[in-house]
């Protein structure tokens, strides 16, 4: 019998959303560590997904799409045109342990200058021009896109052109209090490297990521920005 048998016994109830919060957290930790449990959950979900699909479709309420549309366009990209592009990018989940890795790396890293890669996030002198450039980057099918996500933080979309120039759409981020700033990092090397100080209220912010940058993170730092991250990331994601 597996050493985790008591937890494995809860996998069925977990698949049905029939656990309380404490048990749910315990199972999710167990799932991160046990490939066997993940395989069993995949099997159980075949049944659960079939149960969900047995329900009758229902006509959506009048205006439901309009309300969804209003919600999704009331964000950082609301002024961007609808784009019609061939879809080429593949996306991946943000790595689970990046937060811990970032904290560890921050403790080890030796002073980093913010360097030439830093772009100030405060209102660019020509916001319309930045928006046009960001729009062009989105239209570039060779550009990589990513979503930086974190618990309690609105999703932040980024696009990076093949040459490494990128744009961050930060309009959904809540404004920070005076003396604080958002900061963008790449986590690909042995230590986090600052890509941009985004300011306390970023909208569309250009940055230079380098062509090879893959994993990005946003932190909340003391203004005017930090050489090493002073806190765990608010949001992390990968470019693909």
């Amino acid at each position: 019998m597996s050493a985790h048998a008591p937890l494995d016994e809860l996998l069925g109830a977990y698949a049905l959303d029939a656990l309380d919060e404490t048990e749910r957290r315990a199972i999710e930790e167990h799932l991160e560590q046990s490939a066997e449990a993940r395989a069993e959950l995949r099997q159980l979900r075949i049944a659960v997904d079939a149960l969900g699909a047995t329900e009758r479709d229902a006509s959506c309420p009048e205006g439901a799409w309009d309300r969804i549309h209003a919600a999704i366009t009331d964000g950082p990209d609301r002024d961007l045109p609808v784009l019609h592009l061939p879809a080429t990018a593949r996306r991946h989940r943000p790595p689970r342990l990046v937060a811990a890795a970032l904290a560890l790396a921050a403790a080890l890293v030796v002073g980093l200058g913010l360097g030439a890669a830093v772009h100030r996030g405060q209102a660019p002198s020509n916001e319309a021009a930045v928006e046009r450039l960001a729009d062009a980057a989105l239209k570039d099918t060779n550009a990589r896109v990513g979503t930086l996500a974190g618990e309690g933080t609105p999703a932040v979309r980024v696009v990076v052109e093949p040459g490494g120039h990128g744009y961050l759409f930060g309009g959904d981020l809540p404004s920070l209090p005076p003396g604080r700033t958002y900061q963008l990092w790449t986590l690909d090397g042995a230590a986090p490297v600052s890509l941009a100080v985004l300011g306390p209220n970023p909208r569309i912010v250009p940055f230079s990521a380098g062509a090879a940058a893959t994993t990005l993170a946003i932190t909340d730092e003391a203004a005017p920005g930090a050489a090493v991250p002073g806190s765990a990331p608010l949001a992390v994601g990968t470019l693909a």
């Binding site: 996998l11 049905l16 079939a50 309300r67 969804i68 999704i72 784009l83 989105l138 999703a155």
Partner: protein, 200 residues
């Protein structure tokens, strides 16, 4: 055809996975096509679980706004988009149900529903049974023991935790979690045998 449900000429031929990738590039038309394909299923499940169309629309909106914000959370290699969306709808509906206020509303709503469609029948399991339209799934459920079927339907469609199910059925908690796990495995095996369990 209801408003907002007209198929998109441009996106109608694209796969769900292609449309999700387009959503990552801010294509609102791709998002609309995904809503057209799956919105009714999501809303139907939320309605069934919550017994309240207003709250069900909140779930509908929540599920699709999250897809817009986090398209990367759908991994095409791990299953179909509809299953992914229904799982989100179920989970969020259950969270909503587990507030006392919401549960009270649901009970009230179900009473109205029973009075309208099924007067005199107060069996949740029977009500669920009648709503199930898939013959294959119905047959697979019928092959379970009565105890397994009851535990699974109360947990999934009733939104109860396995502990609550145990209390309702006056059975030990260990018995109920065992019935759920074993019953789901049997169900999955039968569905796979019938060709319904394959993952893309």
């Amino acid at each position: 055809m209801e408003p907002g449900m007209e198929p998109s000429r441009e996106h109608g031929e694209r796969s769900d996975a292609e449309l999700v990738r387009a959503v990552a590039r801010f294509e609102e038309a791709a998002m609309h096509e995904l809503y057209r394909r799956h919105g009714r299923a999501v809303f139907g499940l939320a309605c069934r679980l919550l017994g309240d169309t207003m709250r069900a629309e909140e779930i509908l909106q929540d599920v699709f706004v999250r897809l817009w914000e986090h398209p990367e959370r759908f991994e095409p290699g791990r299953g179909e988009l509809r299953s992914f969306l229904l799982r989100q709808a179920h989970s969020r509906s259950i969270d909503r149900l587990r507030s006392d206020t919401a549960r009270a509303r649901r009970e009230e709503g179900h009473e109205v529903e029973r009075a309208r469609f099924n007067p005199g029948d107060d069996s949740l399991e029977r009500e669920v049974w009648e709503l199930i339209r898939s013959e294959t799934v119905k047959e697979a459920l019928a092959a379970l023991s009565a105890g397994e079927r009851e535990a699974i339907t109360l947990a999934y469609f009733g939104g109860y935790t396995y502990r609550e199910v145990a209390t309702m059925l006056r059975e030990p908690e260990g018995t109920i979690k065992g019935r759920i796990r074993v019953g789901l495995h049997k169900l999955a095996t039968r569905l796979e045998s019938a060709g319904l369990g394959a993952r893309s």
